[in-house]
């Protein structure tokens, strides 16, 4: 125990550990807020599809040697988010298949780019780190932290300001549309925010694991609480606590950050799921 505290005190002397903690908490918070809407609207698949697209964009960006990968990954992911949303609304089978095609295609393209054009000696290491996050959260620069803080504040602000509208559109699109709310606008807003969160979250958990941060806290909160506001708040708390616990645990036990956080989320979900039956 003593050792653990010493280790933590030692690590928290370094600014990069604080950066990681700040960014991790913000990403977890944003992801969980939108997660509730995503899960309830049956849009979880969009989150998953998008993360693969973000991986592809990230691969292209690193091949191009951009100063900041976000310059490419963010716009590409936002555009694809909008397209996927349109495809997902198509009730015919094609819409569903398009999402699978886009997401798998981006994954294949990304891996191909990284292999063929890679400048690094350790290709599989790079790929692994982009897919699973591994340690990239601990190598953030000051600028990246600032970008992340600004985008997170934007996401949280938009969510709070549009909370009532997001609720109405999530619960009943047809009613909202009939009573004069621009439903397509809000669906678009949700898609754009999800894209932003996924791009931000890739640093924390990697592109394969980021959808877990979006989906698990929402599912946990939904199984124990029965009103929307409660679910949103609870989901945010669960997500932030899991992110902090996961990051500290990953420092102490030297485990990969992303998977440790996701495992925390899974444990909480299992507990909530069992609690539901006790009620």
């Amino acid at each position: 125990m003593r050792n653990m505290i010493d280790t933590l005190v030692y690590y928290f002397q370094f600014p990069f550990v604080w950066y990681a903690l700040i960014v991790g908490v913000l990403i977890a918070l944003c992801a969980s807020l939108l997660g509730v809407t995503l899960v309830l609207k049956r849009y979880s698949f969009i989150g998953d599809g998008l993360s693969h697209v973000a991986f592809g964009a990230m691969a292209v960006a690193s091949v191009l040697n951009l100063a900041d990968n976000t310059i490419l990954t963010l716009p590409v992911t936002v555009i694809v988010a909008v397209l996927l949303l349109k495809a997902g609304q198509n009730t015919n089978i094609k819409g569903d298949a398009v999402i699978a095609v886009v997401s798998v295609g981006a994954l294949a393209l990304g891996y191909m780019m990284m292999n063929v054009f890679s400048t690094s000696a350790n290709v599989s290491g790079d790929v692994c780190s982009t897919l699973f996050g591994s340690a990239s959260i601990l190598t953030l620069t000051g600028t990246e932290v600032i970008i992340c803080v600004i985008l997170s504040v934007f996401v949280i602000g938009v969510y709070i300001l549009f909370y009532n509208r997001i609720f109405a559109v999530t619960f009943d699109e047809n009613f909202a549309r009939a009573t004069g709310t621009g439903v397509n606008r809000y669906n678009l807003l949700v898609a754009v925010i999800i894209a932003v969160i996924i791009v931000l979250g890739m640093n924390l958990a990697g592109s394969l694991l980021i959808s877990a941060l979006i989906i698990f806290p929402a599912l946990s909160a939904m199984s124990i609480l029965h009103n929307f506001r409660g679910v949103v708040v609870c989901s945010a708390i669960i997500s932030v606590v899991c992110a902090v616990v996961g990051m500290i645990a990953s420092i102490l036990f030297e485990t990969p950050t992303g998977s440790t956080i996701v495992i925390c989320d899974m444990v909480v979900y299992a507990v909530c799921y069992l609690l539901r039956f006790r009620q």
Binding site: N164, D172, N174, F175, A178, H226, F228
Partner: protein
């Protein structure tokens, strides 16, 4: 004074008309039932009236802004974690304008309509744990928050048991008597004849609009297996 004027519209999807040459106007306080065979375009007509989809031709004009709507339940709603209060409050959305949050006026409106529907006591309960009849009352209260003039309903009693169905129709009639214009899509022809004062019949090659009495005398009633004088006994059978 007509609250809704439908002028020679054609309805359908992607340029293919399901029904055309539809014209009628609805007076304030009217109780109109839209009936017709499956696939004849009842739901399409309703969606067009509600601006969820555009008419292929023609115009729809409302006298006032703001309409109340009670849609059919979607899969999403069945296990949705929201309290009764949150759902009814969301009916006030159109009143928000550019404001982000609800004011005390909207909260008061919510409370009044919940009391009218007798659901104030269950305001903290979760929607997903309510019975079918209670859920319909919640959605009705939400629709009342959206408009005090005109109310659209899409097959509101499907899935309700007979006793709750009658209760729901009585409640709706009460709201109608208080001055609300009611426009309902229904396949429950007997209830339509008992409660509505006007009928719009939409068939594949036949369209009828008129009062309930005129309807019973018309050729359209034959399509629904109705003959004059028979309706009384079949109503009792609900």
């Amino acid at each position: 004074m007509s609250v809704l004027c439908v002028d020679n519209i054609s309805i359908g999807y992607e340029g293919t008309a399901v029904a055309s040459n539809i014209s009628f106007s609805v007076e304030a306080g009217e109780y109109l039932c839209i009936v017709g065979e499956n696939g004849a375009g009842k739901s399409t007509l309703l969606k067009t009236l509600l601006h969820i989809q555009k008419p292929l031709e023609g115009n729809i004009t409302y006298e006032k802004e703001g309409i109340g709507y009670l849609p059919q339940q979607s899969v999403i709603q069945r296990d949705f974690p929201a309290s009764v209060w949150e759902i009814v409050l969301s009916g006030n959305l159109a009143r928000l304008g550019r404001r982000p949050f609800f004011s005390s006026a909207e909260k008061k409106n919510t409370k009044i309509n919940m009391e009218r529907m007798g659901i104030w006591d269950i305001r903290k309960k979760s929607y997903r744990n309510l019975s079918g009849g209670q859920q319909q009352r919640v959605l009705l209260a939400r629709a009342l928050c959206a408009s005090s003039d005109i109310l659209f309903l899409d097959e509101p009693v499907s899935g309700l048991d007979p006793r709750v169905t009658v209760e729901f129709y009585e409640l709706l009639k009460k709201i109608n008597n208080e001055g609300m214009t009611v426009i309902m899509v229904s396949h429950d022809i007997n209830a339509a004849i008992e409660y509505a004062d006007h009928i719009f019949h939409i068939g594949r090659d036949y369209v009828f609009y008129g009062t309930t009495e005129e309807y019973l005398d018309s050729e359209a009633a034959g399509y629904m297996g109705l003959r004059k004088g028979r309706s009384e006994e079949s109503i009792c059978g609900i």
